[in-house]
Symmetry: C2
Subunit: 454 residues, 2 copies
């Protein structure tokens, strides 16, 4: 039985272990943390995940979706909270058959590990911190956090799924001609909490992603299975950028309390632990990682956040990593045993697309925090929706291409740009959708866009 070593038992590593077991490999998964199913992992730094079509497809391919569906809550659209407490629902898809799914990172990871454990050929090794590698010797080095022993593990074929701060990638930096960038946003985030009602019911609409867009900052909330919401506040680090909406300014309980009273009064009412959460939870950073190549000979490949971490504003980080698994698996099918070809084909299929979703995710931060409350943006959304109805194979909204389809992200990015310029041209100097000249619109669409092939 051919062996594969996976470094990192996060979402990508756990799912990949199932893919590899199904392909007939003996899989060893090394993970820095203790087994999160037994030990409580320090929380307070998670943004709930939005599982959508790409991730769902990756789960279905190995028969795991039915189990994951049980811990997912459908979100059919955005619920926009104005400062005066008025809410407005913006549907994500064409109808309720198109939705994204709120799922807890911890619950999903544990469930994936349980499902992987059902394969006798998958073995998890916890508390093993990766300290480096020597590809000439085919060796990986781990430090056992429990016994303090240092371990060398022989591995001919390794896949690194060790996340945005990947230790394996630190080793790749020493290899000539390795392109790499890591870019932090000037914004950080703080996890907050809305508990359920006493009867266990939700305090707000369950099946929506709640957004309090405030221009240069925002609060979001995603539903949990227990009736609570996990909220995330995104604000600037520095006062010079964010003014009072900054971690630098918000350094006392009074300031935080006043800030929420002023900006999120409806949320404040249902956040009894706001001040404890704000000062108890760590401040999360938002990073975009790009790198290339993702592999070294047929010996090592990176997958998921380790080679392409993105900001969370399109809800695609996990979905993109899960999609990596589909493509890597396909490359193994197409070139069995030829790991050099497998890894090369895999990285070539994925690189342009993960670059594209990185850019899309950064763009979407502006849309979420600002544009969703802008009249022209809302008019453009209406025009977009109408164009989608009139030209369902040609003018597919960017959000739909990214979230509800499996077309390459780079196609979504490119067509999204063209569509944005069309919407911008059509909405110019217009105040209502009734003023649109649909004959001119049709001419423009047909000139700029070919039907989408998929």
């Amino acid at each position: 039985m051919e062996k594969i070593t996976i470094v990192g038992a996060g979402l990508a590593g756990s799912l990949l272990s199932v893919y590899m077991a199904k392909k007939g490999f003996a899989v060893d998964v090394y993970e820095r943390r203790p087994d999160m199913r037994k030990a409580a992992i320090s929380a307070g730094k998670s943004i709930n995940l939005a599982l959508s079509v790409r991730g769902i497809h990756a789960l279905k391919e190995v028969g795991l979706y039915d189990e994951i569906k049980k811990i997912s809550i459908p979100m059919y659209g955005r619920m926009i909270h104005s400062i005066d407490g008025v809410t407005q629902f913006q549907q994500y898809g064409k109808d309720n058959s198109e939705y994204i799914n709120s799922v807890s990172r911890g619950d999903l990871n544990k469930k994936l590990m349980d499902l992987a454990d059902e394969f006798r050929s998958v073995k998890f090794h916890f508390n093993k911190r990766c300290m480096g590698m020597n590809l000439d010797k085919n060796e990986l080095y781990f430090h056992d956090e429990l016994t303090q022993a240092n371990i060398a593990v022989k591995s001919k074929v390794t896949v690194a799924t060790d996340g945005a701060t990947s230790p394996i990638r630190m080793e790749m930096l020493k290899i000539p001609r390795f392109d790499f960038s890591q870019e932090y946003e000037n914004y950080g985030y703080k996890e907050l909490h809305i508990p359920p009602n006493d009867d266990g019911s939700f305090k707000m609409e369950t099946n929506a992603l709640h957004i309090w867009p405030r221009g240069s900052f925002m609060l979001i909330a995603l539903p949990n299975m227990d009736g609570s919401f996990t909220c995330t506040l995104f604000i600037a680090y520095d006062r010079s950028l964010g003014g009072n909406a900054s971690f630098e300014y918000l350094d006392t309980r009074e300031k935080v309390s006043d800030f929420f009273k002023e900006n999120f009064p409806d949320a404040l009412e249902i956040m009894p632990s706001l001040l404890e959460d704000f000062f108890g939870n760590p401040t999360g950073t938002l990073i975009t990682v790009k790198s290339y190549p993702w592999c070294v000979d047929g010996k090592l490949a990176m997958l998921g956040d380790s080679c392409h971490a993105i900001v969370p504003f399109f809800g695609q980080g996990m979905n993109a990593a899960f999609e990596d698994c589909i493509y890597l698996n396909e490359c193994i099918t197409n070139s069995p045993g030829k790991w050099n070809d497998i890894f090369n084909n895999y990285q070539q299929m994925r690189k342009a697309n993960t670059d594209a979703i990185a850019d899309l995710a950064q763009e979407n931060f502006v849309e979420m925090r600002d544009l969703v409350a802008d009249p022209r943006f809302l008019l453009e959304k209406k025009i977009e929706s109408e164009l989608y109805k009139r030209f369902p194979d040609t003018f597919v909204p960017k959000y739909t291409m990214v979230t509800f389809m499996r077309i390459p992200y780079s196609t979504a990015l490119n067509r999204g740009k063209i569509q944005a310029s069309i919407l911008h041209a059509l909405s110019d100097c217009k105040s209502s959708i009734d003023e649109i000249d649909w004959t001119a619109a049709e001419t423009l669409v047909k000139k700029e866009l070919a039907p989408l092939n998929y």
Copy 2:
């Protein structure tokens, strides 16, 4: 006497040690390599340096220029070698008072070390490979390459001048919110050699930077003190990009010989050791590094290539690093003892400018290998020269702003872009400078550009 530790005794570290000694600090300089003045350092991977106004000014500030001038050869312009052997001289400045200087990296480094050694407060520690740092403990870690001992050095104030592959920067990567990118060109380079005549004289024009521009690749040659030229061939790595002009293709003596016969026949005649050099010397990589922040509290700052390595095509890498020394020194003068302020002010003064020269250097590769042989480019150069004469305070050529002035690189980049668009507009559909409407040109220049303040 306050202590400063410098990591890296390359060009930047050696010059900085003099600046710091003159400021009254006790300076310890740790260097991975042996003392290059005693041991032969493996060569064959150096592009000759082009010392220009910024670097010269930095040397003059600490009284070192007279000594360096002695090992420098003025280059007044580019000597363009056509494929048919015809040469054409393009002057760099307005007259022979504006020139750049060819200087050997090794000779310059040794001379700077000698000059630093004249200060009793400067101490070099050779064969000490930096293994990391612990800023909480104010400790740097070195491995002694001779004794194999591991050494911890206490240091309250450290400046890292440890080059493009900086080990200190690898440690910075572990610090939250450190932005970093390293980007390799798809081109590599090979050092080659043109020996002097038997009487020690030069085989080509001495006071020029020789270029054989061939569109997608090029050869350059810079004069040495001994009558020889150091040549550098820049070609693509991969055949898919460069065709026959690629390291991938050029894998036999015959292919290299044929390639030079076809593309550089005049150079080939005076390169007796071409094949030995081509296959004996390593292939150099071309990297652009950007990072930020450059400092941690008042404890550590990076300077030179360690935080902003650039490609060599504007001849500004060393000049930019030397300019860093001027600014850091000025910040020390302005906030004595306040290292947090010193390092913060220094990085804020420099970051936008080193980003700008990185971009300028990448742009200039296209100019050097391709445009210098293009008729429209040559017409634009003529118009530029005439506009410079007519508006000497306003329309200053980009090359002049970068090379012969000390205005901020970012100003040179921004004005260079505006000027390029003016030149492009004026040269449109023109075949000769006689067709230019200078009244219209004046209107355009005055509309787009304010006089340069410096």
